[in-house]
Symmetry: D3
Subunit: 242 residues, 6 copies
């Protein structure tokens, strides 16, 4: 129960910060490779998402194994993944960066949306992309791609560690997306990263306002001691305007 | 006359289905490589198109041959192609996937639009792309690209088989585009593919509605016998609601 | 004083023509490689820009040198560049085509906008791209990219000749951007190129109107003697309708 | 026991044919994607190999997890794989086509050679490549690459289905290498493929000799009825020269 | 007859110079794009070649058209090309830079060698590459590649202008290869280029000797007046040592 | 004088270890990106080299600036660099990874060899590569490339920090090459890296011998306490066999 509560808090914080801020917080801890390369949102106006990763691994297709008949099997990993991913999680698909065929399409995206899934990320393609772009469901891919996944992909594993867009993704890592792209946060540090990112965001917003008003970035971003004190004072005042 | 009628019917059906559905219909017949890789619409809101392919082949430019003077020749293949492509056809250009220079620009696109051409596809670039994006003329390319085509391309042939985005295109093949991209349908099977895609679309629409309403995809997509019967009944009722 | 006036005139002309037209004017002088490859506007509706280049050169980062502490140095080349680039200039960054990390972000873009900088171009990435996309500040990059620049880039030089998107850029060259992309004009010929492009644009507009009205491009684009005379007459009349 | 015998026979046949012939035999059965893209032998004079696949899967490295300390764990998948791969098998590593760091190096290659492993294939890099090139051990990679695998790779799984060079590899599939590269044969058809390839090779050798002696390929390659009969007669005579 | 004589002389001169020297001679005439990108010799010790281009054009394969049965047609363009290319010519294949499948193999190479063909160039792959590497027949490709050409290529045209490795090749252009790669010389200037390259080679040899003996390149390469005079004197003496 | 002595010692040590070992020593200090990507030796049998970096920076060429006439200027950066690089140094050229034209050729390589330069590295191409391959001069490039550098490159700077093959190179950094490729060692740590690499090599040689003799890598590589003690004892005995 406590955990559920925590997840809701973490999600709330992560939805309030940008992927740019998160990559800097991760970089401070020595993690340099956390931004999924090439994943762009189909629906940039409605793509803010955060949730633990549930993964699906593809290998290249083989003509004799990957026919339309495979989908008749209710345990087919792609279909099974869509039906079993926990609500609130993000589906992350390792498509080996190959967008010549789709990783998933509109019907599966709809099913996941209805089931309460937080979003969908692939380093390959998505089909029915015009339909998905109109949905209220965050979906990220390398490119729209009409061909069915069987043409180049074979779903092989569910919820194992994968690579996606050159980034390692372990099941349970937190996945955050915005109009810039998708970042992966190791599960063990997500709470502290969320807290730190909220603090960083408050400061960056302050800086942005100061700079928009004409102030130089020198001594401000990053702040020297005076600027830091000035910011702390402004912040204290904002919290307690009395 | 009959043929014209057929073409209109085929076009009408193809405009009512998605490129995603068409690639699946083609995959059922063993055709795996039918989606032009990398061709994106400049005007996604007005890019629905269907028509037989009329092709233009480029080879790399040579500095002594490819000067602005070549366009003074009324038989220059690029200009000749634009003036002779039949209304209703789609111009497909083999630019060897090279978008460093444009394959065509706004004036030629306007000429084709006025002449009743159905659309324009290149695996290279298009220039005057902001103008073309505002036209009611489907245009697909790998990237906007300002440089004139002579810098990297030499128009050499009209209406010969070509490759475009790694897909073979024979003159007369049907080219269908939507906001997802462009698919190539061999001329000999276009009628049956169009019919089948219409049927598939009806079923997919039904599935999409069911899934949006909360139904699982297992047993539905693809349908087991019960789901198939249920769909047939719903469809019969829809056709004859009495 | 005269120079300032000239710059204003040149800017005004360059803002009235397209990058496509400019590349053709440059091609006439033997310059084939003037369009920055891969640079796309974040804010296509507000990306028209023209100004002399002010450059920033990056080399790959090294873990021991490129830590967040470097930004405390007021002479850090990236921060120094942002504070010293002359108003009216365009910041052009050589990021070696590497968009895995950002070249700059929202706060620096804001600072440059406030300082009157004409625009920002990189052949790498930009972070805080959703924020920048909402600003009235032309910004061009290969891709949105959340990671801070230190992860892959080390700012090393200000205002030296660089490559950007495979194009040479010398400080003072004129940089012109529109929704299609960015073109580089050698400083020594910018005045004549601006004049010629204005003339070319007038003719192209005439051609576009004629073609939209149904005229063939043959004999018109490029014009034969009759079409040329017709255009000159129409133009004379437009200037002096009496 | 019988199986071991079969394996030895299959291996013997596969070592007597080329990867080119094998890809054609596989193509006849509808398998088009069987040649590992980009894998080149380090030691082309001693790279002939055949054996069942034993696989190792890598995902991208993470700085906090992938330190040199991991190799102190005797169950580390890379080290464990090297010690447990059955003699006669081929180690196939999925490195996601990333050769920026090595997949393995000279000491592990030596250990596998000593253990009787048939060969090593990766779609990434190999380090100590000059040493491996001098060994009597078939080793195939995309490129020599000095950096230790931990810099970009994390060994995660042993003997699961993988992709390697864009080709699916299931544990037990037969892997055949020669100076041209590496082909993957599904386990279920390896016996018939081996037989057919031996037959094809006999015919191709005959054709090669005929062509070297001046005969046209028309009617010979592929053979018309007369050429087929002629070949069968020559072959019968060769088998029974009495 | 005279032409044949001329061809022999041209060939003799071109075989005595390097592709590096030829690209410089072509660059002096404004031709910058004459070196086929990515084409490497399979047999670097025996790859010197020169001859007029005979071309073969491939487009992407289509599964229903490109089956092994097509080779039964004696007019199949690939087979027909191999049988009809004139002795002394170089076969140049446009494979769209796609080396996933072969452009040709050992038997066709043997047939061409026997027929007196000067060499073989493709921007795709070659199969049976170990066999071809052992032949006395110049063969250039992007990579060894086992799969039969039908898997990705469809031979469509013979002796038409093509692109190969991003360079335009017109039938009759002269193709020269050495261990560095392959250069294309427009037919109309081959005689003068050959003469000039012979002169350049004589001077470069002189420079190489001087530099090897310890002389600075400044004033020598390129030569100032004194060095030019010195060279002319040395050359005159060499021709007439009396 | 002392420094020279040190340089000789460092060079001697670095020539006795492999680039693979050096990248691991650098990785232990947090330096992950030290191996120049894509640089291969033209003469693998004679490519062992070590020396401080002297750098040359190229930007893209511009047709009006980069004509053959530029080489008449004795201060042209490329020619000047070749004449002024200190003996014992390694010339490292930033060619932006572009091998479409050469970075240098045989005559300049000869001049550097005669002047006592330690070697040549570019992330672009080298022309006259067959000649250079026959010289006793280490030379590394991405690919042989016949076209003169002016076609795509403009030499702009000497001895400034550059990127080469995605690795930062500061003047004075030590550059070590072997048949595997090229590694960059920051100047400040080269002495300790050299010492450590010599120690590592001694141990790796021991491990290699043990493994070749049949020992498992588990507990040996890396060594557990017992193996470490055993190695130290063997080493002590080897140093003092009495």
């Amino acid at each position: 129960m406590a955990d559920k509560q925590d997840d809701a808090e973490i999600r709330s914080k992560l939805l309030a910060v940008s992927t740019a801020t998160l990559t800097t917080a991760l970089f401070k801890r020595g993690l340099r490779n956390t931004f999924i390369q090439g994943a762009r949102p189909l629906n940039p106006q409605k793509c803010k998402m955060a949730g633990p990763a549930f993964t699906l691994r593809y290998i290249p297709a083989r003509e004799d194994l990957d026919t339309l008949a495979v989908f008749r099997d209710p345990r087919h990993p792609q279909r099974h993944a869509v039906e079993t991913i926990p609500p609130g999680s993000v589906m992350v698909i390792d498509s080996r960066g190959d967008a010549r065929a789709a990783s998933a399409g509109g019907i599966l995206a709809t099913r996941m949306m209805v089931r309460g899934v937080a979003g969908l990320v692939t380093d390959g393609g998505l089909r029915d992309s015009p339909d998905i772009a109109a949905m209220d469901f965050p979906a990220f891919c390398r490119a729209p791609s009409a061909p069915t996944n069987l043409i180049h992909h074979h779903a092989i594993d569910i919820d194992v560690p994968i690579g996606c867009g050159d980034v390692p993704v372990y099941p349970g890592d937190w996945i955050v997306g915005d109009a810039e792209g998708v970042v992966v946060i190791p599960a063990g540090i997500v709470a502290e990263i969320a807290d730190e990112a909220v603090e960083m965001t408050a400061f960056e917003t302050y800086v942005e306002q100061q700079v928009a008003a004409g102030r130089s970035i020198i001594g401000l971003y990053p702040p020297d001691e005076a600027a830091r004190a000035e910011y702390e004072a402004a912040r204290a005042k904002a919290k307690d305007p009395s």
